[in-house]
């Protein structure tokens, strides 16, 4: 059984504060450093790279829109999670820029985590083929695994290095951390069907071109208008769309949420793939129901057995949707775990294994892990 991690928090954006926190965690005897920091800390890249390369311990983690400590979300600051065991870290970098055999690349770079069954995944949210990577990784590592994780990066949608490793900051990368203890996880989103189903009749990766043979934006706009009496234009797209995600219906009746982030007036671009021929629904949310649903998931996780580390990846768009009420959701989770300190990040997309075992990229969801 793992011992409780060392958790050091600083609200400061200074690298020195981060450095002190890392040192403090190291002095406390931890064996692996997991960093969760805010993008808005705006660390100098050279300084942070030096700090990382000087570390005597393995370092992992990412920069996120917000970080979470207990029931609170912070837009600035850093959390140093000092794990009391040695985690194996596999970094996969330069994913977009090289033509290579991805399965072979994964196999060659995963040797140190090949025997693990429990993983934390931190993915650069702006690497467009994250889902292809997680599919190939699952093909390689096999079933019977548990995964939690999320997408690092900024809400301004400007790609930048946002993943921490001993060689410095990485971008266009995915980091997989092998945890030598079982992770229990719980996944929820709380979104409900508003309208649909619609058949995805044309799509390419993240881009949904048509639903029911109608340009997606047109159908989406009309459906929102009809079902929620809300108008939608290209100009206010992001403001309105955050309330009305799409949901891909699975064969088991589960919804895989897809967050539309932009449109050209014809297609919709989502965070994550929307396969052609899939059935999608227009979703709506109610903060109270969502908080309730999250609390139930946290309760289920607690009932399954409390670990020493409680790690949360919560979608930043939930915060954008709920506003201040997001902290109610965070408290709803923390309140279930009296003996553990909740740490985590508000991420751009979440990663977890589904009920059937495969690794999925989630949107607007909550992924809680306990180990």
């Amino acid at each position: 059984m793992p011992t409780s991690p060392v958790i050091k928090f600083t609200s400061s954006t200074a690298i020195s504060a981060l450095s002190d926190a890392i040192k403090s965690a190291t002095d406390a005897g931890c064996k692996t450093i997991l960093l969760l920091t805010c993008i808005d800390n705006d660390y100098d890249e050279e300084q942070i790279n030096r700090l990382l390369s000087e570390s005597a311990l393995p370092i992992c983690g990412g920069m996120f829109a917000q970080i979470i400590l207990q029931g609170n979300a912070y837009s600035q600051g850093a959390i140093v999670l000092g794990l009391m065991f040695t985690a194996e870290i596999a970094n996969y970098s330069l994913l977009s820029t090289t033509h290579y055999d991805l399965p072979r690349y994964i196999e060659e770079n995963s040797k140190n985590i090949a025997d693990h069954q429990n993983f934390i995944v931190i993915a650069d949210a702006f690497y467009s083929a994250n889902e292809n990577f997680t599919d190939q990784f699952y093909n390689y590592i096999g079933s019977g695994i548990t995964v939690i994780g999320g997408g690092s990066g900024s809400l301004d949608f400007i790609p930048r290095p946002s993943i921490y490793c001993n060689q410095g900051l990485m971008s266009d990368a995915i980091q997989i951390i092998g945890i030598p203890y079982p992770i229990k996880n719980a996944i929820g989103h709380g979104w409900e069907i508003l309208d649909g189903p619609y058949l995805v009749t044309a799509s390419e990766g993240h881009y949904v071109h048509s639903l029911n043979y109608i340009p997606t934006f047109e159908l989406y706009r009309d459906a929102i208008q009809k079902a929620a009496r809300q108008t939608l234009t290209q100009e206010d797209f992001f403001t309105v769309a955050k309330h009305f995600p799409l949901g891909i219906m699975s064969i088991d009746g589960e919804l895989l949420v897809r967050d539309p982030i932009q449109s050209d007036g014809s297609y919709l671009e989502c965070v994550g793939n929307v396969p052609v021929n899939s059935m999608v629904y227009l979703l709506k949310g109610d903060p109270d129901s969502m908080i309730l649903a999250t609390g139930e998931k946290a309760q289920d996780l607690f009932a399954a057995g409390q670990g020493k580390t409680l790690l949360l990846f919560n979608c930043i768009s939930r915060a954008l949707f709920m506003g201040d009420r997001i902290e109610h959701e965070l408290k709803a989770i923390q309140d279930r775990f009296s003996d553990s300190c909740l740490v985590g990040a508000m991420s751009l997309g979440e990663i977890a294994d589904t009920e059937n075992g495969a690794i999925r990229l989630l949107n607007k969801s909550t992924v809680i892990g306990s180990f």
Partner: protein, 618 residues
């Protein structure tokens, strides 16, 4: 919530997920990916009927028995263990496959394995934690039918590709075998000739010189004879490997015949001197490589070689000319016995032509009775004539009396020697008949004739001799056959049979030139010979040469212990005679007593000896 549209969308996407690729792996991979995407399994698998080479098949699946074999899984492992070696899964799949149902759901621990048959030769397994709803399962029926059809098309395609590949391989193998020697893997004669033709053309075109080395192995036949052909083959293979190592890819090595090899050196250089130097280097390397002892399981063997070579620079010489010339040079090298590798010179052809011409002349001589027999008398220590050896003489119409040393070796290369032997036998018997009609000294016993190896090898040799004796109506004991010691090194079985038959008939046998061959004493015991003839080489200066003295003494004692008589050949001096008497040899032949005589002269000599001993006339 699985509405009809949802079900149709799943079915549609799965149908679209069946690739048109002819590659079975691609079909399976793509289909399983789509299954992963739409059916959300924990894992999915395909098992197929496969042949011994792990290639999917379908026709064989119709035969009873036989099991499916794991083909592909996504993901590849469970809990770190590859699905490909999961026996539980394989057993479950095959149990389902042999049952009659086309689909089934089997629960193992927490997993639900949804099994679907792919035609009559495969199974698709969708492993989930939750059961696939029945409408979804039903909707897979046309999908699996299409998948089966695509699989069959792919298998047929692969089979066709394999057949084409196999045919090409077979054609290539046939082409290779047609142009290569099966034992050594070297080019064969035909291929070498073809390459030589190309080399001639290239040399003419590029204005440079090529060379052809013909290598003949010496002492190789003994290996085959003594150890067997299987050992000889091993030795040949090793030599072939050595030659290939010397030549490498630059030039061509071929096995030309039994123990003959050819090295073709195409486009060596433009300068003759340089070419000669290069060829000399190559020959030295070849000789060194061949003379290095060959180690095989049965022992270590040494062979040597002689090499003849010819050069070419244009098409004035044909392929056959070049090979023939190299062959002539090689034979010349063997004949001379000195330098092991020599170039062809045109005078060698002259000599050979003369030789061939000689053969025709020998034939002619036989037809035109140009041969005659001379007789060299044999004496005992009391100077009594005890017999005579018949010696062949040829009075050539142009060259006069030719030495037998010239034409006998030529005749031995062909069946002419048999014809010559038949003449000698016949003529000797006729002349014995004439001798029998006249008074002969008591001491006079037989006329000896020389028998060649080829005569003795004939199946009807003994019968021929008996028939000739009978036709000549002579006493069998008046004829003696002389066999050289070297014949005893060959196949003795038949020879001994012939001689034993003749011995019983009354014809005795002598071993000629004893001491010069490599006969085994065991063979000597088996031979029905009554006389050993000590070769002249050991008689020469026997009184002065201790080695000859010792050897002659040994032969005399050997003959005595084998109860054989002994006669010394080539006695030329009194001293030699005295020495031989002291050693216990009492019969002699040589210039000291008489040169070879014509038959008439022999008769005169007999008359003279009778005149000296009137009381001893028979």
């Amino acid at each position: 919530m699985n509405t009809a549209m949802h079900i149709m969308s799943v079915q549609h996407q799965l149908l679209l997920g069946i690739s048109n690729s002819p590659d079975m792996r691609e079909i399976a991979q793509q289909f399983l990916q789509v299954c992963r995407s739409r059916l959300e399994p924990t894992s999915c698998h395909i098992f197929l009927f496969q042949d011994a080479g792990h290639n999917p098949v379908y026709e064989q699946a119709l035969a009873p028995g036989g099991n499916l074999v794991h083909y592909m899984s996504l993901p590849h492992k469970k809990n770190g263990q590859p699905w490909s070696i999961n026996q539980k899964l394989a057993t479950m799949v095959n149990k389902f496959f042999h049952a009659s149902a086309v689909n089934s759901m089997i629960k193992i621990e927490e997993d639900l394995y949804h099994c679907f048959k792919i035609g009559h030769f495969g199974v698709l397994i969708i492993d989930r934690k939750k059961e696939l709803e029945q409408p979804i399962q039903e909707s897979l029926t046309p999908v699996l039918q299409k998948l089966a059809t695509s699989c069959i098309a792919s298998i047929d395609h692969q089979k066709l590709i394999q057949e084409i590949k196999t045919r090409k391989e077979v054609e290539e193998k046939i082409r290779y075998q047609a142009s290569h020697d099966y034992l050594t893997g070297l080019c064969n004669r035909e291929e070498m000739q073809r390459r030589l033709g190309d080399a001639i053309t290239s040399c003419e075109k590029n204005n440079n010189i090529g060379g052809l080395l013909l290598i003949d192995l010496m002492n190789f036949k003994n290996i085959n004879d003594l150890m067997g052909h299987h050992v000889g083959d091993k030795v040949l293979r090793q030599i072939a490997i050595r030659l290939k190592e010397i030549v490498q890819c630059d030039y061509t090595v071929a096995r030309f015949g039994g123990d003959e090899f050819i090295i073709l050196l195409a486009q060596l250089a433009c300068d003759h001197n340089k070419v000669t130097a290069m060829i000399n280097i190559m020959m030295n390397r070849v000789i060194a490589a061949i003379e290095e002892p060959v180690e095989v399981q049965e022992g270590t063997f040494s062979v040597s070689c002689f090499i003849g070579y010819e050069t070419f620079c244009d098409n004035s010489k044909t392929v056959n000319d070049i090979i023939k010339n190299a062959d002539i040079a090689m034979y010349e090298a063997i004949k001379r016995g000195g330098n092991k590798g020599i170039p062809y010179e045109s005078k060698m052809s002259d000599a050979l032509n003369k030789r061939l011409n000689y053969t025709a002349q020998i034939e002619n001589a036989l037809k035109n009775n140009q041969f005659e027999l001379y007789y060299q008398p044999q004496f005992d220590y009391l100077q009594h004539m005890i017999g005579a050896e018949a010696l062949l003489r040829w009075n050539h119409p142009v060259y006069g009396y030719e030495s037998p040393a010239v034409y006998i070796p030529i005749a031995e290369e062909s069946e002419l020697i048999v014809e010559i032997g038949a003449f000698v036998l016949s003529q000797a018997c006729k002349e014995i008949k004439l001798l029998e009609k006249m008074p002969l000294p008591d001491s006079f016993q037989q006329i000896s004739i020389n028998i060649s190896a080829k005569q003795l090898a004939k199946n009807d040799f003994a019968d021929t001799v008996i028939r000739t004796i009978e036709q000549s109506n002579i006493t069998a004991s008046r004829l003696k056959l002389e066999i050289t010691e070297s014949i005893m090194m060959g196949d003795l079985g038949q020879s001994i049979t012939h001689l034993e038959k003749l011995y019983r008939y009354g014809v005795e046998c002598a071993i000629d030139d004893f001491g010069t061959g490599y006969s085994s004493l065991a063979y000597l015991k088996r031979f029905p010979a009554s006389l050993l003839k000590i070769d002249r080489a050991f008689i020469c200066d026997i009184d002065k040469d201790p080695s000859n003295h010792a050897i002659a003494k040994m032969i005399i004692e050997l003959a005595r212990s084998l109860k054989m008589e002994v006669i010394a050949e080539g006695v030329e001096t009194q001293q030699e005679l005295d020495c031989l008497i002291k050693l216990g040899c009492y019969q002699y032949q040589g210039y000291y007593f008489s040169r070879p005589l014509t038959f008439n002269k022999l008769v005169e000599r007999i008359d003279t000896s009778l005149a000296k001993l009137p009381l001893l006339v028979k």
